[in-house]
Symmetry: C2
Subunit: 358 residues, 2 copies
């Protein structure tokens, strides 16, 4: 067999590779010490070309400048949350106008909430409603600052949404947010079949969505007809591959050692962070309703999203995963004019439509 | 309102953040220059704790040492492919034994192929069969080296598989691999309803799976009842966010400037790389059959997988995405003893079972 010297080099290189693969395979079956961590060199990552200009702007924004603040108590978080909310709330009137929804404050059995009603309710949604749990690491987005996702869901999905303004530190601690969600769920059950309702939310709201189903099962309450946890904080113990692979790439959460886990810790108030009511990926997902999960390729919580997906599938639950190109954590609740935002909420609306009772 | 100096710092930091977000939103709607790339610092990435020991070994293996070889012709690739195949083929008898399948060489209308038959065909699969297109950048894994995925699918899915040993450079160039797949598809149609058959494959085999459906549509042939493209090379023009975010993290493909795209370029033989028959993400996906896509959080082609998923959904196709924790490109066809490998193929088998005719 004739070979050029160059070809021989390549052959040798590939032989080495193939033997390494075979060796790796054999080693995988043998007892051995913990594998080494990977040293990843510095790199320059361009903004993807294959997303809308609006999403390019969101992806191209610099890393959140204050990602490594670490408020240590509910009292320290409160002014931070209020200041953030004051700024975010300014965007809400424009969203209400563009999405053509009406927002009313209400109180449901002692829990503060907003009713978000679209100008046009789709005929198939007349006897349906959704419960929304907002995000913000269990400490951020009080009041109207938690509304954007509820407005997008109501407007793009043409369906009524009840957005729960659950208690947060320093007003109350674990399990107050979950308790408030369950209070609203119990109230909703009085006037509508569980199968006609879904629960949804992003980040801490995605975790609360999962926690509400776990809690409903525990209490013997009916579970909703479907749920949509978006990039859920399903594991607050720093387990999850993309906590590390997407660190300093996700421009929202930035790092597993950032502000967000500190919020969860303050909310937990000394409670075991591995409790499924704080890290729902560890919960028993048998009997969960059909679930649609949303994340992005740069999301620090992509692993915590796909791990929930796998757990649901292993439990025999119908579960669908949507991962959007280039998105960091919860990028899809930023700009309602980005076509990807509409796509996310229309996917969820279609999923609800195919699984909820009428 | 009383605030401690520390709280005031936090408030100011969050105000800045919130205002930056609002500014980013406004800018997103305005004309503006291309957003800047992100400079990601070097980092240490641990092997995830939440996967099996077998998968930890595969994830913990060092980066493929010869990822940056660049053979420039079919003649240069041939000895590389042969050497790699010789080493990989050594694993095949063990796989055949563990998965309890029988492998027979055959020739279908001039195309080399293998028939992979499990010891036990599930009753629901008696009148079904699968067409397998192996991976390897259109230049690697000749002969039995392309069989592992076919063996896993037949064994875990209890279904008959025809694995196409399509022509590769230097024997033949674009569109030879696709033509061979279509020849086998046409032959299969003579004895079985298209709806009772699925096509599947990983990497270049995932791309070929998509290309075969595009070509079948073009030729007016019936399309299969379902397809399973695994981490498809759906875009060989280097477009895709995870080409960059997962560079030097995916220990199989390693870099968008690695060996694999060179293989595709040699196969393309001067043809436009953006042709949907080489970069199927640019194809028209209307009328595609139900599709299950598989990838991993470290996969260099995660974006090329999720982009196909979005394109399918936008075309109204039933499409489901599975993303596995910590996996690099095609890690799921390495070790049949890893529980995650079984999970991948059982998911695909379940998907086929719910969509194929009987």
């Amino acid at each position: 067999m004739k070979k050029s010297p160059r070809s021989l080099d390549l052959v040798l290189a590939f032989c080495c590779l193939a033997m390494l693969s075979a060796t790796a395979l054999r080693e995988a079956r043998a007892q051995s010490p913990a594998p080494a961590a990977l040293e990843v060199p510095a790199k320059t990552v361009p903004v993807p070309a294959d997303v809308s200009p609006q999403l390019q702007k969101i992806i191209g924004a610099p890393l959140r400048s204050n990602w490594d603040i670490h408020p240590k108590s509910g009292e320290e978080w409160k002014p931070v949350a209020d200041a953030g909310a004051a700024a975010l709330t300014k965007n809400v009137p424009g969203m209400i106008e563009r999405l053509k929804v009406k927002v009313e404050k209400t109180n449901i059995d002692g829990v503060r909430a907003f009713i978000v009603t679209p100008e046009t309710i789709a005929p198939e949604n007349r006897n349906r409603q959704l419960i929304h749990m907002h995000g913000g690491c269990y400490v951020l987005n009080p009041g109207e600052a938690g509304l954007p996702e509820a407005i997008f869901m109501a407007g793009f999905g043409h369906i009524k949404v009840i957005s729960v303004e659950y208690r947060m530190p320093p007003e109350a601690y674990f399990p107050a947010a979950l308790d408030d969600g369950i209070t609203v769920w119990k109230a909703a059950l009085k006037s509508m079949d569980a199968k006609n309702m879904a629960i949804f939310g992003t980040s801490a709201g995605g975790a609360l969505t999962l926690e509400m189903v776990l809690k409903a099962k525990e209490l013997g309450l009916p579970v909703p007809g479907a749920i949509a946890p978006g990039t859920p904080m399903s594991d607050v113990t720093k387990v999850g591959d993309t906590f590390y692979t997407n660190a300093m790439l996700d421009n929202v959460l930035v790092s597993p050692n950032g502000f967000c886990d500190d919020g969860a810790k303050v909310y937990a108030n000394g409670h075991d962070m591995k409790d499924p009511l704080l890290s729902p990926v560890y919960g028993d997902m048998k009997g969960f309703p059909p679930t649609i999960l949303t994340s992005g390729t740069r999301d620090l919580l992509l692993s915590n999203t796909v791990r929930v997906h796998r757990k649901l599938r292993q439990a025999g639950v119908e579960a669908t995963l949507q991962v959007y190109e280039g998105m960091s954590h919860a990028h899809y609740i930023r700009d309602d004019t980005a076509p990807e935002t509409r796509e996310v909420f229309e996917e969820i609306a279609r999923f609800f439509d195919s699984h909820l009772g009428k």
